[in-house]
C-alpha cells in the first residue's frame, strides 16, 4: 500500500479516536469553545487530506460534517445531543470508509447521501446559507472544487491539486498552531514507517499531534518534543539492549570468580551504564494507560443511549504508564468489563431511584502503581452480581453441587463467573451476554502474568481489580534446580523461601501421599517441581540419555550409576525426607502454595524471551532465558502451575471430597466400644465414652451395706453392681469393674473379664429383648450385646440422672425394674424424634440418647416425620440432620414451624458443617440450636437445656409410636 495512504490511515485513525472522546465531552460541555475548535480542526484536516489523496467519498462525508461543525464553532448552531449523535454518525461513516480503505487500498463503494442529507439539513437549519461562515473561508472555497475533483485521483499527490485546495491548506497551515509541545503518547502509538512525508502531508501531521497535545487530559504543562518511531525499530533496540544486559551479566559473573583484576573498575562502570540504558529503553515502551481507555467514553455513551440508562464514566490515573505490549493485551478485557458494568451492573434510572441511589450510575476506572505492579480497578455502583442467579447457573452447568454451594461464601461463588461459557444474562444483547467474556478476560490477563479479582455486594455494586506486572522483558528471577535441571521463577512471584530437612522442625508431611507443609499454623499445599514437570530424579551427575524420561528406566539407570543414588525406591515421596528440600512459596490469586525444589541458586536479572510457538501450549512456562553462563533455562509461570495444580486438585478435591464425605459418614458410624464378658460367653459392649475407668479390685475389699455392695474408691463409697446375677463375686481374687462416674457419683459395674476395645459401627440388629440391653450388634465379627448403661445406672441409683446436666429431665418417679417392653422404669422419659438419612448415624445416636435416658424414635426422612406429625404423634424435642436428600433440614424446619402440630416443639439441628452462616440460617428457619454432629457432649447438654426451657410444652403422655 502506498506509504502516503498508510500514513494517512494512521493519522486519521488517531484523529477519529480523539474525536470520539471529544464529542462525548462536547455533549457534556456544549459551549466549550476550545473543544469545538479542536473538533472542527480534526475533521477539517481529514477532509483536507482526503482531497490530496483522491478519496472523494471520504472527502464528501468529512466536508459535510465539517460544515455542521463549523456552525457549532461559530456559535450559529446550538450543540444538542441529536446533532452530536449525527456527528457521531458522520464519524462512524468515516471510520467505515477508512476501514475499507485499509483493507483494499481504495475506498469502498457506498452511498452516503442519506447522511449527507441529514448533515445538510442541520447545516442549513438555522442560519442563512454561507454568510455565517466567516472563519471557514476555506470551506466555501473548497465546496466547488470538491465536487469536481471527486472522481479523478489515482492517489498521487502532486500535480492535480487545485488552487483552492492549496489555499485551503495554506490557510489551515497558518491557522494551525506550530509544531509545539506534543505530549509523549504520540510517538509510540502507531506502527508505521517514519518515512519522510511530502510537505503538504507534514502539516496535518503537525496539527494532529498538537491537537493531541491539547486533547489529552493528562497533558503535562511542560511537555517534551516527540517524534514518531516505528515499533519495529524500538523492538530491535530492546532486543539489543537485552543482549547487552545478558553479556554484562556474563562478564559480571566471570568477574566474581576473579579476586582482583584490572577489569573490575571498567566493568563496574559498564554495569551501571547498562543498567541505566536498560531502564531508559524500557521507558520507551511505556505508554499511559489513558490510551487504552480512550475508546471507553464513546462506548459508554452509546451504551447509555442504547439501554436507556444514565451512566457516568470516571477515569483516574490515566497517566499511569505501562508497557505497550501489556497495553495492547488489556485493551479488550478492559473494554469488555466496562461494557459489562454498563450492561449488567448499572440499573436503569427508575430501579436506581427506587433503590435510593442516584439516577446516574457511576463507573470508575482507577489505575495506579503499587510495588512492581499496576493495579487497575473497574468499579461500579450498580446492582452487583446476582448471587442467586449465579448459583442457579452453577447448578445448571454442573459446576458444583448444592452442598458445595452451601459451603461457599458469596465471594467464592462469584468467582465462578470466570468459568468458560458462564453468563447469567437472560438475553444476549449486542453488548454482552454471550458468555464468552470473563474467562477470556482472565486468560488474557493471566497470559501477561497478571491476576484479576472480584468483589461484589448485591445491591451495592462490583469492583474488579486487575494486577499486572510492570515490565515484561527484564525481570529478576530466582534460579532453582530440580532433578539436575535449572529453572527460573520470577522474583515477584516468590513470597517466601523455606528450607526443610529431615531433622528440623520443618518437615514436609504427606496427607494421602500428597506433600503438605505446616507454615506458621497454616497448611500449605505443595507440589514437587520434578513431579510437575515429569522429570525423573536424576543423580548429581550430568545429563542422562536425552530421550530417557520414562520412570521405568530410572531404576535401571540408577543401578548403572553406582553412585550417590537415593537409596530408597524411585518413589519421589520417599526421597522427600532423605535430604534438604527447599520450598518456594508463591501466591496466586488469594491462595498460597509451595513448590518443592532441590536447590536454590541466586537471583539474577534475566531477559524474558517468549517460548517458541510450538512450546507455547505448555502453560507452566512463561518464557525462557539465557543465564549468565550461557545456558538456556525455562521460566516458570506460577499462574500456570496453580492452574495445573488446580486441575489436579480439583479432580482430587472431588474424589477427596467424596471420600471425605464417606469418610465422615464412616466416622459417624464407628463408635469405640469396650468389650467385656459378664455372666455368659456372649461378649458385651458399652460405648467407651461412657466408661470413666476400668479397674481391677480385690474382692476382699468389697463391703456390704444395706444390701448393696460397696467399695471404697478414691475416698468415696462406690456402689457396685454385678452385671447380672450370673456374675459371681467370690471371696477372693480380683474382679474387673467398669466405673461410671458423673458429677461426683460413681458406680462400678462388675464384670467377668475385659476383652478389648473396638471401633465399630453400631448397627443394632436385634432389639434388646432383655432388660439392660439395647440390642445386639456385630462387633469384631462376633455377635455382641450392646449394653444399656442407663438401665444399670438408674437401677442402682434412681437419682443418678437427676442432678446431671444431661438429665433426661425425667420427673420424679419410682425406680422399678423395667416392665420388659424395652422402656425403662416407667419414668416419664422425654421423647426425641431423630431425623437423619444416614442409618449409621441414627444407630449411633439412638443408643447414646437412650443411654442418656431419652426415648428415641428415629426416622430416615423428614417426609416420614411429617407423616407421623399428621398422625398425631408428639415429641418433646426434634433433632434433625441438615444434609438430607429430597428435603433438607432447613426445609423440614420451615415446614414444621409453618403448619404442623409440632410448631411449638423445639428443634435442634445437627450437621457435619457448622459455619456461622449455617448457624444463622438454622436459627432463621426455626432451629433453637445448631450443633455439630460429633459433639456428643454439647448435644446432650443442649438437649437438657432445651427441654428445661420448654417445660411448658412437655405436657404429653408418652405414647410409644
Amino acid at each position: 500500500m502506498d506509504d502516503l495512504i498508510a500514513e494517512f490511515l494512521t493519522e486519521t485513525n488517531e484523529s477519529i479516536e480523539e474525536l470520539d472522546v471529544d464529542l462525548v465531552n462536547l455533549e457534556q460541555n456544549p459551549n466549550d469553545a476550545d473543544l469545538l475548535g479542536k473538533i472542527f480542526r480534526l475533521v477539517h484536516t481529514i477532509k483536507g487530506t482526503c482531497g490530496f489523496l483522491g478519496l472523494p467519498r471520504l472527502e464528501k462525508v468529512a466536508h459535510h460534517g465539517e460544515n455542521v461543525l463549523g456552525r457549532f464553532r461559530d456559535g450559529d448552531l446550538e450543540v444538542i445531543p441529536d446533532y452530536v449523535t449525527l456527528i457521531f454518525e458522520c464519524i462512524d461513516s468515516i471510520k467505515m470508509i477508512v476501514a475499507g480503505l485499509e483493507e483494499t487500498g481504495s475506498e469502498p463503494e457506498g452511498d452516503d447521501s442519506e447522511l449527507i442529507e441529514k448533515l445538510d439539513a442541520v447545516y442549513e437549519g438555522r442560519a442563512v446559507g454561507d454568510s455565517g461562515e466567516q472563519a471557514s473561508t476555506e470551506t466555501a472555497a473548497d465546496d466547488a472544487p470538491q465536487e469536481e475533483s471527486g472522481g479523478g485521483y489515482p492517489g498521487e499527490c502532486s500535480g492535480n491539486v487545485t488552487k483552492e485546495e492549496l489555499d485551503a491548506l495554506e490557510a489551515a497551515f497558518q491557522s494551525a498552531p506550530g509544531p509545539e509541545s506534543v505530549s509523549p503518547p504520540a510517538p509510540t502509538e502507531a506502527p508505521e514507517e517514519p518515512a519522510p512525508a511530502p510537505a503538504p502531508i507534514e502539516q496535518p501531521k503537525v496539527e494532529a499531534p498538537s491537537a493531541a497535545a491539547k486533547a489529552k487530559p493528562s497533558e503535562k504543562p511542560v511537555s517534551t518534543q516527540s517524534l514518531r518511531v516505528s515499533v519495529d525499530v524500538l523492538e530491535n533496540l530492546m532486543t539489543m539492549v537485552s543482549e547487552l544486559v545478558l553479556n554484562r551479566n556474563q562478564l559480571i559473573q566471570i568477574l566474581r570468580q576473579q579476586t582482583e583484576s584490572e577489569f573490575s573498575a571498567p566493568l563496574q562502570r559498564l554495569n551501571h551504564v547498562v543498567s541505566e540504558l536498560q531502564e531508559g529503553v524500557m521507558k520507551t515502551r511505556m505508554q499511559p494507560i489513558g490510551n487504552a481507555w480512550s475508546k471507553l467514553p464513546r462506548i459508554i455513551r452509546d451504551l447509555s443511549l442504547e439501554l436507556n440508562k444514565k451512566i457516568e464514566l470516571e477515569m483516574k490515573g490515566q497517566d499511569t504508564e505501562l508497557d505497550r505490549q501489556v497495553l495492547e493485551l488489556i485493551k479488550d478485557p478492559l473494554t469488555h468489563m466496562v461494557r459489562n458494568s454498563g450492561d449488567h451492573g448499572i440499573e436503569d434510572p427508575e430501579t436506581r431511584k427506587a433503590a435510593g441511589k442516584s439516577e446516574t450510575g457511576h463507573i470508575l476506572l482507577n489505575a495506579y502503581h503499587e510495588g512492581g505492579h499496576i493495579i487497575i480497578q473497574i468499579a461500579d455502583d450498580g446492582k452487583g452480581l446476582p448471587l442467586e442467579k449465579i448459583k442457579e447457573k452453577i447448578l445448571s452447568n454442573g459446576l458444583a453441587t448444592a452442598e458445595e454451594l452451601e459451603e461457599m461464601s458469596p465471594n467464592q461463588i462469584n468467582q465462578f463467573i470466570f468459568k468458560a461459557g458462564f453468563s447469567t444474562a437472560e438475553k444476549v444483547t449486542s453488548v454482552s451476554g454471550r458468555g464468552v467474556g470473563m474467562d477470556v478476560v482472565r486468560t488474557n490477563i493471566e497470559k501477561i502474568g497478571g491476576s484479576i479479582e472480584l468483589q461484589s455486594t448485591e445491591g451495592k455494586g462490583s469492583t474488579f481489580t486487575i494486577k499486572i506486572p510492570l515490565t515484561l522483558a527484564i525481570v529478576s528471577a530466582l534460579v532453582v534446580e530440580s532433578s539436575s535441571e535449572r529453572f527460573a521463577i520470577p522474583q515477584l512471584a516468590v513470597k517466601e523461601l523455606v528450607m526443610t530437612s529431615e531433622n528440623s522442625d520443618n518437615q514436609i508431611e504427606t496427607i494421602k501421599g500428597k506433600p503438605v507443609f505446616r507454615l506458621r499454623d497454616r497448611l500449605l499445599p505443595l507440589i514437587s517441581l520434578s513431579d510437575l514437570l515429569k522429570i525423573t530424579r536424576g543423580t548429581d551427575l550430568p545429563q542422562l540419555l536425552p530421550t530417557n524420561t520414562e520412570p521405568d528406566d530410572e531404576a535401571q539407570v540408577n543401578e548403572e550409576q553406582n553412585d550417590v543414588t537415593p537409596p530408597k525406591g524411585t518413589n519421589p515421596n520417599d526421597d522427600i525426607h532423605s535430604r534438604h528440600q527447599y520450598i518456594v512459596i508463591t501466591q496466586v490469586g488469594a491462595s498460597d502454595f509451595g513448590i518443592i525444589v532441590d536447590r536454590v541458586f541466586d537471583t539474577e536479572e534475566i531477559v524474558v524471551k517468549p517460548v517458541a510457538p510450538m512450546l507455547k501450549g505448555i502453560e507452566l512456562f512463561s518464557g525462557n532465558t539465557i543465564l549468565g553462563d550461557g545456558s538456556v533455562i525455562m521460566i516458570l509461570d506460577p499462574n500456570g502451575i496453580a492452574n495445573h495444580i488446580g486441575q489436579i486438585s480439583a479432580a482430587d478435591a472431588n474424589s477427596a471430597m467424596s471420600e471425605n464425605i464417606s469418610h465422615a459418614s464412616m466416622q459417624a458410624e464407628k463408635t469405640s466400644l469396650l468389650l467385656f464378658r459378664a455372666g455368659n460367653d456372649t461378649p458385651k459392649a458399652v460405648p467407651l465414652s461412657l466408661v470413666a475407668r476400668i479397674e481391677n479390685i480385690d474382692v476382699s475389699l468389697i463391703e456390704h451395706s444395706a444390701g448393696q455392695m460397696l467399695v471404697q474408691y478414691r475416698g468415696q463409697l462406690m456402689p457396685l453392681v454385678p452385671f447380672d446375677s450370673s456374675v459371681s463375686v467370690g471371696e477372693t481374687g480380683e474382679k474387673a469393674i467398669l466405673v461410671f462416674s458423673d458429677q461426683g457419683q460413681s458406680m462400678g459395674l462388675i464384670v467377668d473379664e475385659i476383652i478389648d476395645i473396638q471401633e465399630e459401627h453400631i448397627d443394632i440388629q436385634l432389639d434388646g429383648g432383655e432388660t439392660g440391653l439395647l440390642g445386639s450388634s456385630i462387633v469384631a465379627g462376633k455377635a455382641t450385646d450392646i449394653v444399656n448403661v442407663g438401665y444399670y445406672l438408674q437401677s442402682n441409683n434412681k437419682k443418678w440422672f437427676q442432678n446431671h446436666d444431661d438429665t433426661p429431665f425425667v420427673s420424679e418417679g419410682d425406680g422399678q425394674k423395667s416392665n420388659g417392653n424395652g422402656s425403662v422404669n416407667g419414668f416419664n422419659k422425654k421423647r426425641i424424634l431423630l431425623v437423619d438419612d444416614s442409618p449409621f448415624f441414627r444407630n449411633m445416636l439412638t443408643p447414646l440418647l437412650s443411654v442418656a435416658g431419652y426415648d428415641v424414635v428415629s426416622l430416615e426422612s423428614p417426609q416420614e416425620a411429617l407423616e407421623m406429625c399428621d398422625k398425631g404423634a408428639e415429641f418433646d424435642v426434634i433433632i434433625s440432620d441438615i444434609e438430607m436428600p429430597d428435603m433438607d433440614g432447613f426445609e423440614f424446619a420451615k415446614k414444621v414451624k409453618e403448619e404442623s402440630n409440632w410448631k411449638k416443639t423445639p428443634m435442634l439441628a445437627l450437621t457435619s458443617h457448622a459455619t456461622q452462616q449455617d448457624k444463622d440460617r438454622g436459627k432463621q428457619v426455626g432451629f433453637c440450636e445448631y450443633i455439630a454432629k460429633f459433639d456428643k457432649e454439647t448435644l446432650l447438654s443442649t438437649l437438657s437445656e432445651t427441654l428445661s426451657n420448654h417445660q411448658d410444652y412437655s405436657g404429653y403422655n408418652g405414647d410409644v409410636a
Binding site: 543482549e243 530421550t547 539465557i626 538456556v632 525455562m634
Partner: protein, 163 residues
C-alpha cells in the same frame, strides 16, 4: 547473499534453471534444504531439554544470545531417535521460521549442491506419509535420490504435546 548473486549470475549466463541446496544426511538418506533458508550450520551443542515439550522438540540452545529451539528431525520423521550422549546434539542446521530460530538436528552435513530443475520431481505418492508431508519433491542425483525438505511445512506441523 553473495551466494545468491553468484547463483543469479550463473543462471543468467548459462541459461540453466537450477537451485542450490545444502545437503544433509538423515539416517542414510540424503535430504536437501534450499540454501537460502539456511541460517547457520552448527556442530555439537549443549541442549537444554524442555520438560513437557512435544517429543519432536529436543530442547533449546543458545546461539549468540538467541534462543534456538532444537528439533529432533529423526523423531519427526518417525525414524529411530538420535543417539546422542550427555545432552549434546550432533550437527544442526539452523533455519528461521516466522521470526523464530530452529535448529534441525541431523546426522551429517554434506556439500552445497546446485541441482538442475529438470532433475526435479514432485513427491512420490507412495512415500511414507510422514515424509511426504514435509517434502516438496525429489531430485535425481547420480546414484541416489535427494529429498527436498519443505522447512516451513516441517516446522508448522510439529505435533503438539502428547501429554
Amino acid at each position: 547473499m553473495s551466494v545468491e548473486q553468484q547463483t543469479h549470475e550463473d543462471e543468467l549466463s548459462s541459461g540453466i534453471q537450477s537451485k542450490e541446496f545444502l545437503t544433509i544426511m538423515i539416517a542414510n538418506q540424503r535430504f536437501g534444504i534450499p540454501i537460502l533458508q539456511v541460517e547457520d550450520v552448527l556442530g555439537e551443542q549443549t541442549i537444554t531439554k524442555v520438560p513437557l515439550a512435544p517429543p519432536d522438540v529436543a530442547g533449546s540452545l543458545n546461539l549468540r544470545g538467541r534462543i534456538v529451539t532444537a528439533i529432533d528431525v529423526h523423531c519427526r520423521l518417525g525414524i529411530e531417535p538420535t543417539q546422542t550422549s550427555n545432552g549434546h546434539s550432533s550437527m544442526g542446521v539452523v533455519v528461521e521460521h516466522e521470526n523464530e530460530l530452529y535448529s534441525l538436528i541431523i546426522d551429517k552435513v554434506g556439500d552445497v549442491l546446485k541441482l538442475k530443475d529438470e532433475d526435479f520431481e514432485t513427491t512420490l505418492a507412495t512415500l511414507d506419509p510422514l515424509w511426504k508431508d514435509v517434502s516438496s519433491g525429489i531430485y535425481r542425483l547420480d546414484g541416489e535420490l535427494l529429498i527436498v525438505l519443505d522447512v516451513p511445512k516441517f516446522l508448522s506441523t510439529i505435533s503438539s504435546s502428547k501429554d
